[in-house]
Amino acid sequence: MTNDGFGPGLGKVFGPQHEGGGPELIQLLTPEGERVEHPEFTFDLGDDAIQGFYRDLVMTRRIDTEATALQRQGELGIWASLLGQEAAQIGSGRAMRDQDYAFPTYREHGVAWCRGIDPLHLLGLFRGVDQGGWDPLADKFALYTIVIGAQTLHATGYAMGMQRDGAVGTGDPDRDAAVIAYFGDGATSQGDVNESFIWASVFNAPVVFFCQNNQWAISEPIERQTRIPLYQRALGFGFPGLRVDGNDVLATYAVTQAALQRAREGSGPTFIEAYTYRMGAHTTSDDPTKYRVTEDLEHWKLKDPIERVKAYLLRNGVVDDDYLASVDAEADELAIHLRKGCLELPDPSPLDIFDQVYEEITPELEAQKAQFAEYLSSFEGAH
């Protein structure tokens, strides 16, 4: 036993930088594509589901690659890449039922895919033609929230609404619902996130806090946000926390499914720390070479979330090379749809901005709009 000033061995126990996520990491599919058992969590779907996940992962990565390319070519103002986090998003997104509701950050492109949203709708925000092109109520996927952590409170309030609607703990699998709140490691330092933990805890709200710990908040490493593994914070708020291999789609699915079910049954919130790595830049405006070393990147490349699923499927004869080629072809079709659709996204009219500020335009805004219209029309015919 050593004494590092915090007590016997605490530095070792609580140090955030365990190699590979530490012994507490829940994993059901190794980076080599081997299925492994876990005493508490089981992946209870068949190989056809894993094959479906593979398609989801590839399509999600293709969306991301195409959007990054569109930004590089000047068609998007900015893009927030999810490279490396595909499994965390597909595993958790596929664990949701139709009646569940997701509150994303601005990087949950894979979850949007699982919600059935045309990825073209994700591009409007980044192209600057709208603030998100989907219907957050019908799609049960909130608009992207850019203020870090603010959505975790919205998620908790929404979950409190589900409680009041009698949609929790009835035992009816088609009725019982839960909310999943997405956020990153940086957000765990925000007051709103901590307040949402308290609210969810004391009101026993049906919300799953899904933290993708991708190790970086732009340039700040996880050590700047925490001295203990993030999932251990949950205990202090009064609900369970666990750390899952965020690059393992099977484990992510299994733990999220269990946590959502727990919430739907009325047993309250769970904190899931999906241990992963941001393989790309924070956004296309960022330059990670200024603050991190390539060795880390090489290390995490070996844990790629797609390669391990591919290895499993091929080794077990679930799919063959023709299937892989067909998924790639489908992904290329999707990329063409994205590219074509992006270039065709109409610019909004400057006069439209006045109409959606309030339920009905106010006399003041009506006057400003009329004045602006008159001003704009004064240029008609001018060169």
């Binding site: 957050p136 409170l153 919205h154 009041r164 709103d192 308290i198 500020v357």
Partner: protein
């Protein structure tokens, strides 16, 4: 007819709104068993239950942030901020989320949230309990801001604010909570977003809202004794402003003085002065004057009577305007 205080009027209005719509929920610190530190929600948890009158944890951003989620789920949250100076921890949620979600979602997501704030000074309180934060909210697109000044308005305006599909910051002049008036519930109220002439006059227009309406009415009566006919307008709505009665009045009197407790610089008076000069410049006999708090933090309460605009400071401004 019932005699009610402003506090009771808002309480009755909240009760009526909760009876009318099961989706109305009240949330805030101490609003349940205690009935709020000013007892504005007195008795409501007992009658409507803990699911509809929610004693929240002590965190204002949490109150507004969870209200956003409840509103997305179809509820109509009425959030009580205990005192004006405690709204700032919720400022981000109000300005970046509550105010913008309707716009962000192209009108798909409605935010029928009411943010009740007891505001203004005059009760001998410690720091952070006497502030006038209205300009921060009136400056934010997507919010509506109203201030009641009397018990009858308190009763009706809170119901109208709750019925609004837009978020409304509802300012309650805490030092007027105990003022009394007769309420006749059979008299239908005018619209929420309308200003009202509360005392007619011909020589000068006083523009006020919230706690300063009473002060201006008293000033108008005092001025009359000196042979001056001063019109008083209760603005009631600060965003949007209802300029029609204001401009009509100033075109008639040619003079305007704006009175509020909030600091002068970039307060509502600045906007009113600008609008009046833009829209009825040639009717003006004198510059629009402003009476308000000084550009200092709110002072220790032993000198708040000197700091706050009162009858004499309003009359002084009336004199200066008429001297032009």
């Amino acid at each position: 007819m019932t005699t009610i205080t402003l506090g009771k009027g808002i309480n009755m209005g909240l009760r009526a709104a909760m009876e009318a719509d099961p989706k109305v929920v009240i949330m805030g610190e101490d609003v349940g068993k205690l009935g709020g530190v000013f007892r504005i929600t007195d008795g409501l948890q007992k009658d409507f239950g803990e699911d509809r009158v929610i004693d929240t944890p002590l965190a204002e951003s949490g109150i507004l942030g969870t209200a956003v989620g409840l509103a997305m789920r179809g509820y109509r949250p009425v959030c009580e901020i205990q005192f004006d100076g405690f709204v700032y921890p919720a400022y981000d949620q109000i300005v970046s989320q509550v105010a913008k979600l309707h716009f962000r979602s192209r009108g798909l997501v409605k935010m029928p949230i009411v943010i009740r704030i007891p505001f203004g000074g005059g009760i001998g309180a410690v720091e952070h309990h006497s502030e006038s934060p209205e300009a921060y909210f009136a400056h934010t697109a997507g919010l509506k801001v109203v201030a009641c000044s009397n018990p009858v308005d308190g009763y009706w305006m809170i119901q109208q604010a709750i019925a609004s599909d837009d978020p409304v910051v509802f300012l309650e002049p805490k030092r007027r909570y105990w003022e009394k008036a007769e309420l006749d519930e059979s008299v239908q109220p005018e619209g929420l977003f309308s200003a009202r002439v509360v005392r007619a006059g011909t020589d000068l227009t006083l523009l006020a809202y919230g706690p300063m309406v009473k002060t201006c009415l008293e000033a108008s009566i005092a001025a009359e004794e000196e042979g001056r006919s001063v019109e008083v307008i209760d603005l009631r709505t600060l965003s949007p402003l209802d300029m029609t009665p204001v401009l009509e009045s100033v075109r008639k009197t040619g003079r305007a003085v704006v009175v509020h407790e909030a600091p002068i610089t970039l307060g509502l008076g600045s906007e009113l002065a600008a609008r009046i000069s833009e829209d009825c410049f040639y009717s003006l006999e004198s510059p629009v004057l402003r009476v308000g708090g000084f550009d200092t933090p709110y002072p220790p309460s032993r000198i708040e009577e000197e700091y706050l605009p009162d009858l004499d400071r309003v009359l002084d401004a009336v004199d200066r305007s008429l001297a032009h």
